[in-house]
């Protein structure tokens, strides 16, 4: 019975289910179509077994956490007995007893796992009084907001921060009922080694860590007749925004988004992918210059602000290895600001403010950096995330599913496919390879895509021919993977000429400002990006007519370096 066709089976609620290498019973149960609740389990992180929501009952009435129990052939478990129902309800009740329950004003309202489970298990009453001292919130960071009153000590953020991102800005402190998730010495998070990647907020099941909401000042500018508000949309946003409106995953909703932005009062709407084309051109030129003239190698990309911050804090010795290029958002922002200045007419010209719509929380930090200013003020005035944009659309009452798509504005309305794929891990590299190979790349787009640049491995290695030599390229996403690579390079174990780093695993499509994706939706979003590339008639950044016009016009002379580089 338990070894049908030599396969291993276990009994779940009286039905046989095959064990196919799952590391815990939970995965087997979920495979069997039962959505067992969890608050602290993610297959990408280590197993913690703290929330006790995934408990199951064994043959002899023993209760075990399914996330931390390996499956055995012949095992018999039940997932929904009176005891388990009571047990789960009690766990939820205890969690809620010590939880700030101001749901209506919480950023995570309707998107909160604790709320969802309380609903699901029909919890109507909490019998216990809260007992902990209600800690102060932490508003110090530009990217995230911490409210310890909503923390359920599941530790998802702690494991994300240390295991995936190798940062460890937050951890547990104290013990027992006094335990909390906090920074060392309760420092404001902005004063720690936090890199603003926001993945802690993305994985937090409650509202204990949320992405900073910057919509207030943006709405003010949109309603101010003296401000010309210019939006630019980062590549990865277009394939994720649809998730918020029940549009199939990975669908490119760029056109609808453009229309929605116009309706909400944005004066002009551009595509950050055009800025990415400038980044490809500048970065590839820098790369070739270093190759030809014996500059410092490997060249590390600089467009990911969380990676940039990570390197700044942990690897100051890499300063000269990191590209001097600004990020696509900052490059396009500088161009928009410069053009606005040149076109200013009348006594009181409208003030131009650039708004970046990004999948990223670290951009909220990047735009405030000293290096990213234009004539004494931030080049980009606001950064809002994909989720914030979805909230704006809902607030404005626009029925997104019914909106008809429109095209972005000229003159920066053309982006190459190379610029668009910036939003997925390996995209920058693929774009730079196309540039380095020059016009011959046009016939080899498909070949390049098979060199190993695509896919979701934490570390990808690519070799491409360049003149007489072979160039060695590494692509990493996730800062832990980046750290391992840096260690390998510095110990002499590995040698590369070019290294692309994206802080979030999978690249910007899995950014913390996007609808949450850990372990799902990444392939669909990547497909959406590559489809946009296939459909674009310009494949090479260097062949983007907008870039061409810019280099002979607005960026002529030393303007290009001045506007597009931070050092």
């Amino acid at each position: 019975m338990n070894t049908m066709n030599n396969k291993k089976f276990m009994m779940i609620d009286g039905l046989p289910v095959a064990i196919e290498g799952e590391k815990n019973i939970l995965d087997v149960i979920r495979k069997a179509g039962i959505d067992l609740p969890t608050l602290c389990y993610y297959s990408a992180l280590s197993t913690y077994g703290a929330c006790r929501m995934c408990v199951v009952e064994g043959k002899h009435g023993e209760i075990m956490a399914s996330c931390s129990t390996p499956p055995r052939s012949g095992m018999e478990i039940k997932t929904n007995t009176p005891r388990l129902q009571k047990y789960r309800k009690m766990v939820l009740e205890l969690m809620l007893a010590d939880h700030c329950r101001d749901c209506t004003t919480c950023d995570k309202n309707f998107d909160c796992k604790l709320q969802e489970l309380a609903q699901r298990f029909g919890l109507k009453k909490v019998r216990f009084e809260p007992y902990s001292i209600w800690d102060k919130t932490d508003n110090s960071s530009l990217a995230i907001f911490r409210d310890p009153n909503k923390c359920i000590i599941c530790g998802d953020c702690v494991r994300m921060c240390s295991e995936i991102q190798n940062v460890g800005a937050i951890d547990f402190a104290h013990r027992g009922s006094k335990m909390e998730v906090t920074t060392a010495f309760n420092m404001p998070i902005a004063e720690t080694n936090c890199v603003n990647c926001g993945q802690c907020a993305a994985i937090c099941p409650t509202g204990a860590i949320t992405v900073k909401n910057d919509l207030g000042p943006l709405w003010e500018d949109l309603h101010d007749p003296n401000v010309r508000v210019v939006a630019q949309i980062a590549p990865a946003v277009r394939v994720a925004l649809g998730d918020e409106f029940d549009i199939p995953r990975g669908t490119n909703v760029m056109g609808k988004m453009v229309t929605a932005l116009r309706r909400m009062g944005f004066d002009e709407v551009y595509d950050t992918a055009t800025g990415a084309d400038l980044t490809v051109i500048e970065e590839a030129r820098e790369f070739i210059d270093r190759l030809e003239n014996g500059g410092k190698l490997p060249l590390f990309t600089s467009c990911c602000p969380a990676w940039f911050r990570y390197a700044e804090i942990n690897h100051p010795e890499l300063y000269d290895n990191i590209s001097s290029c600004k990020s696509p958002i900052e490059m396009l922002g500088s161009v928009i600001k410069e053009r606005a200045k040149q076109q200013e007419t009348g006594k009181k010209p409208k003030k131009t403010k650039v708004v970046a719509i990004a999948p990223c929380t670290a951009k909220k930090f990047e735009i405030k950096r000293d290096e990213m200013q234009y004539e004494g003020e931030p080049t980009v005035a606001h950064t809002i995330t994909t989720i914030e944009l979805a909230n704006m659309i809902r607030e404005a009452g626009l029925r997104f599913e019914d909106i008809l798509p429109e095209a972005v504005d000229m003159p920066y309305g053309i982006a190459s496919g190379a610029g668009i794929i910036f939003g997925v891990t390996g995209g920058v590299t693929e774009a730079v390879i196309r540039y380095v190979l020059g016009s011959s790349a046009r016939d080899h787009i498909a070949d390049i895509s098979f060199t190993g640049v695509r896919g979701f491995d934490g570390l990808k290695e690519v070799k491409i021919p360049y003149k007489e030599q072979e160039l060695s390229i590494a692509i990493v996403s996730g800062l832990k993977n980046a750290e391992n690579l840096i260690q390998a390079i510095q110990s002499g174990e590995a040698h590369y000429d070019f290294v692309e780093v994206m802080a979030c695993e999978g690249g910007c499509i899995a950014g913390a400002g996007q609808p949450f994706v850990l372990g799902r939706a990444k392939p669909e979003r990547a497909d959406g990006m590559y489809e946009a590339d296939r459909l674009s008639n310009v494949k090479l950044s260097a062949e983007n007519p907008v870039a061409d016009a810019l280099y002979t016009g607005l960026l002529a002379g030393d303007k290009a370096h001045h506007l597009l580089h931070y050092k």
């Binding site: 240390s162 940062v167 460890g168 800005a169 937050i170 951890d171 547990f172 402190a173 104290h174 013990r175 906090t182 920074t183 060392a184 010495f185 720690t192 080694n193």
Partner: protein
Amino acid sequence: MDNKELYQQIDEIINAQSSEKPIVAILQDIQEVYRYLPREAFDYLSEKLGVSLAKIYSIATFYENFSLSPKGKYVIKICDGTACHVRKSIPILDALRKELGLSGEKNTTDDLMYTVETVSCLGACGLAPVLTVNDKVYPAMTPEKAIELLGELK
């Protein structure tokens, strides 16, 4: 505190450990020397061991035995395990606190001479009520004997 001296001390402690560099043992050794864990030690350790500051803080705050604030020259631990408690350890604690002007929140004198704290069990129940001063055991205490002991320490 002279950080250079602190760092030298920490280096010695780390080097004396096995290659696995157990953090708890290192923290214990630092506390042994300084009677508490100085703030500056955390930054230095974090860098030296390649462990995040928050993780070391996590470990240091998990164990009751680690102190983040300076302790007195004489650390008096009054056992309040079941055996000592029923044989009236609390009046001893109260007497010592009253004599030294300490309380539940403030357990070290301003001159950094005395620290008074309770422990759950010293494992010397036959000698109850018991207290230790810098790990030396004093059995069968009374409030009067405890005050007398303070005088002897000076």
